[in-house]
């Protein structure tokens, strides 16, 4: 047996492997560079700033305060309030977004004439810039002169529900839901169109009802997509800032009402309203830790409910 026999083949394989690695890193390097420069470094800078008293104005008077900002955060009633409101927001918005966008995806997955028009219409809110979108909703939901209260006044004259003030959680949820449904629907739709037809057809031949097909076949097969949507939706719900801010603040309203005083709103106010950059970074880092912990928790649960064709 010749010892030199397999060598050229192995060398060729190694060279091919190296070439593949080079190609991989060449293609991924723009993203990697962006990730390092725009995400990783700011995260580290934020962590360092969170250990200082930086007020955003004069770096020369900045000094280390250790973990003081973190200690303060745990005692801060505003942080507690904002955390509570954020939990309410997540618990209300995430299930609503998942259920309604999944439902929409099922609707637009029908093989009927002109379905493309409906898909486009449902997706349009997702491409409208937030400012324009919120402005339109404000006309609808304004307390004294809004169209919705005007309509309700036909039945109860003088109705002036504060959809964007004391009842802001519902008003802002409506806006956020409407603007996010298209993106959620598209992902679910892609998942639905990837389902194997033969399973569904076989079930129908066996006499399964539409609900049974959905419950026993579609839903289990969609759990990987559902899992992905939950992870992204969870992160996005915890980070919610732009819509509540735009919908409820103005020149004469410097901060959202307490109902939608979310965690990110508090961070923004602490940093840019009060000039507490160090403290703002500390509570921002606490949010990052919470989001990561919850994301990890969701990952841990997937073995119990996410369908996989491959043994883990």
């Amino acid at each position: 047996m010749s010892l030199a026999g397999p060598r050229p083949e192995r060398t060729r394989a190694t060279a091919r492997s190296r070439r593949r690695q080079r190609t991989f890193y060449t293609f991924i390097s723009p993203w990697l560079l962006g990730f390092v420069l725009l995400t990783l470094l700011p995260l580290i800078a934020g962590l360092l700033i969170s250990l200082t008293n930086y007020d955003g104005l004069n770096p020369r008077s900045m000094h280390l305060v250790g973990l003081d900002n973190y200690v303060t955060a745990f005692k801060d009633p505003l942080v507690r309030h904002a955390s509570g409101r954020t939990m309410v927001w997540v618990l209300l918005n995430l299930p609503l977004w998942i259920i309604v966008s999944f439902f929409l995806a099922i609707l637009v997955n029908q093989k009927i004439k002109g379905i493309g028009i409906f898909r486009t219409l449902f997706y349009i809110p997702s491409v409208i810039p937030a400012v324009g979108l919120v402005w339109t909703w404000k006309i609808l939901l304004e307390q004294n002169y809004g169209l919705l209260n005007g309509f309700l006044s036909l039945f109860r004259p003088g109705t002036a529900i504060g959809w964007l003030s004391d009842q802001a959680i519902y008003g802002v949820t409506s806006i956020a839901l409407w603007s996010g449904l298209g993106a959620g629907m598209i992902i679910f739709l892609a998942g639905l169109q990837g389902l194997p037809d033969e399973l569904i057809e076989a079930a129908r031949i066996d006499g399964a009802s539409s609900f049974q097909v959905f419950w026993k076949i579609t839903l289990p097969l969609m759990t990987p997509v559902l899992f992905f949507q939950i992870v992204l939706g969870l992160i996005s719900a915890f980070q919610m800032f732009v819509i509540p801010w735009l919908a409820t603040t103005s020149g004469s309203v410097p901060a959202p009402p307490r109902g939608v005083y979310l965690y990110m709103v508090n961070i923004y106010r602490q940093i840019f309203g009060v000039g507490r950059f160090g403290y703002g970074m500390a509570i921002l880092w606490l949010l990052i830790v919470v989001i990561m912990a919850l994301t990890l928790l969701v990952f841990r649960t997937q073995r119990y409910w996410v369908y996989s064709e491959v043994e883990e």
Partner: protein, 465 residues
């Protein structure tokens, strides 16, 4: 090479999305404030005589309200033509961007700011002393500076009003005056207040209660609107009538629970919100902003300065507006400006001469002259007061009242150098919402507000070092 598994891909996506928290935070801009007077362009009538253009050269970076028209491209071209050798780079007014530029050690040479920003920036040694430039200038003479420019003069951060000159206002207004909507008074059969004698705040409250109109839960006429984002400035002025301060003498604490006078002042605004007499923050939101509401005939009385006279008469309110003096709290007339919007130079500018040339041009040459005749504010130079418009009967009535208010010569409000501009009003509105909703009492509101503001002051003291 091992391909990324679905799980690894999702993990990576989660990490990226979580990381974007930080990035998204930095990308947001400062929320929009109520529109302020813009420099409406009028044909210049005459140009003041200035010294020959100085031999200054360089690139001057100016942070200003570009989109709002206060500093336009045409104006920059006009300047660059008049002063060859100096180029101007304009940056849209954005606090986030300013922080970033300052942190990078490269702030704009000139920045548009308001009076409350002067003490905090002075305390951090961020302002350039312009006194020698003013002393040498023939365009902006020190003895010609209107009283509002005192906000830009200081002995130190705790003593504003006299001393070194760090900037000047572009224009200004005594800001406590009232605009009354005559039709609202007529509809309720109420007699219009005098435009020579000031109302008291108490009388104003009574009137507002009579003027406010409701249709079920809807408010169809706001009784009395005031700029609630500047509410602490109003408190300071009210307390100033009796020589009292909102803060302790050394400004290291806000004095609310320990001061009956302060409690009384704050109670006035608490009652105003509880009785729904006007738009207040997110508690009683304005359909747009209070100036726009007035223009649409939805506000019976509005506290705004002279600048608002340029837009107070619309198709709806034409011949229906009466301008009256600022109200008194304890019988002493005071009417300072509460904004004094102006310009300062960065302490670490590398082109002070060129920056001063632009500063002087913007505040004492063609653009300033255009502003003086526009009616969007009292000119920053006393010698230009006569250029304010007085053609229409309304402008003439406004001028008559304004003359009286200018005669009061109210000293400037002393802002707290340890606080950011909106700290007090933001915290007030946050707790006011709870108090009006009955979740906390008025006394608890005061305690919480005091605690928050004092914590912010301590942070400010530590930051200044």
């Amino acid at each position: 090479m091992k391909a990324l598994s679905r799980r690894e891909l999702l993990k990576l996506s989660g990490m990226v999305a979580a990381g974007s928290v930080l990035v998204s935070c930095g990308a947001t801009s400062e929320p929009t404030k109520a529109p302020e007077p813009t420099a409406a362009v009028a044909a210049p009538t005459e140009v003041p005589t200035t010294a020959p253009p100085p031999p200054a050269q360089g690139n001057v970076v100016v942070m200003h309200k570009v989109q709002e028209g206060e500093l336009t491209e045409d104006m920059v071209t006009q300047f660059e033509t008049k002063y060859p050798g100096i180029t101007v780079e304009v940056v849209q007014d954005d606090l986030t961007r300013y922080f970033a530029m300052y942190a990078a050690g490269n702030p704009p040479d000139l920045v548009r700011i308001q009076a409350p920003t002067v003490p905090p920036w002075l305390a951090r040694k961020m302002l350039y002393d312009l006194t020698p430039y003013f002393q040498a200038s023939t365009a902006v003479k020190i003895d010609d500076l209107a009283p509002a420019n005192n906000y830009y003069m200081a002995e130190d951060p705790l003593h504003v009003g006299t001393g070194k000159i760090y900037g000047m206002c572009k224009d200004w207004s005594p800001d406590f005056t009232l605009f009354l909507y005559k039709k609202a008074f007529a509809d309720k059969g109420l007699e219009l207040p005098s435009d020579t004698e000031p109302l008291t705040y108490q009388k104003l409250y009574e009137l507002a209660k009579q003027l406010a109109t409701f249709e079920g839960d809807r408010i169809t006429m706001f009784g009395f609107d005031y700029p609630d984002v500047w509410v602490d400035r109003i408190w300071m002025n009210m307390l100033g009538e009796t020589g009292d301060l909102l803060y302790t003498q050394d400004y290291t604490q806000i004095a609310l629970t320990s001061s009956d006078k302060a409690k009384e002042v704050l109670k006035y605004f608490f009652d105003h919100a509880t009785d729904k007499l006007g738009a207040v923050g997110a508690i009683i939101p304005s359909p747009n902003w209070i100036g726009d509401d007035f223009d649409k005939g939805l506000v019976a009385s509005l506290m705004y300065g002279y600048w608002f006279s340029a837009m107070a008469e619309t198709d709806v309110t034409k011949d229906q507006v009466l301008f009256v003096p600022g109200p008194t709290w304890a019988g002493v007339q005071r009417d300072p400006t509460m904004t004094a919007t102006g310009m300062v130079m960065s302490a670490i500018t590398k082109v002070p001469d060129a920056a001063w040339t632009f500063f002087q041009w913007y505040n004492g040459e063609e653009p300033a002259l255009d502003r003086a005749g526009s009616g969007w504010g009292v000119p920053a130079l006393k010698s230009w007061y006569e250029k304010m418009p007085k053609e229409t009967p309304f402008q003439q009535q406004v001028q008559k009242v304004l003359e009286g208010e200018l005669g009061l010569s109210t000293p400037p409000l002393q802002f707290n150098p340890y606080l950011a501009e909106a700290t007090v009003s933001n915290a007030w509105l946050l707790y006011l919402e709870q108090a009006v909703g009955g979740q906390i009492t008025f006394d608890e509101l005061l305690t919480s507000l005091e605690k928050d503001v004092n914590a912010a002051i301590q942070d400010g003291i530590a930051a200044i070092g």
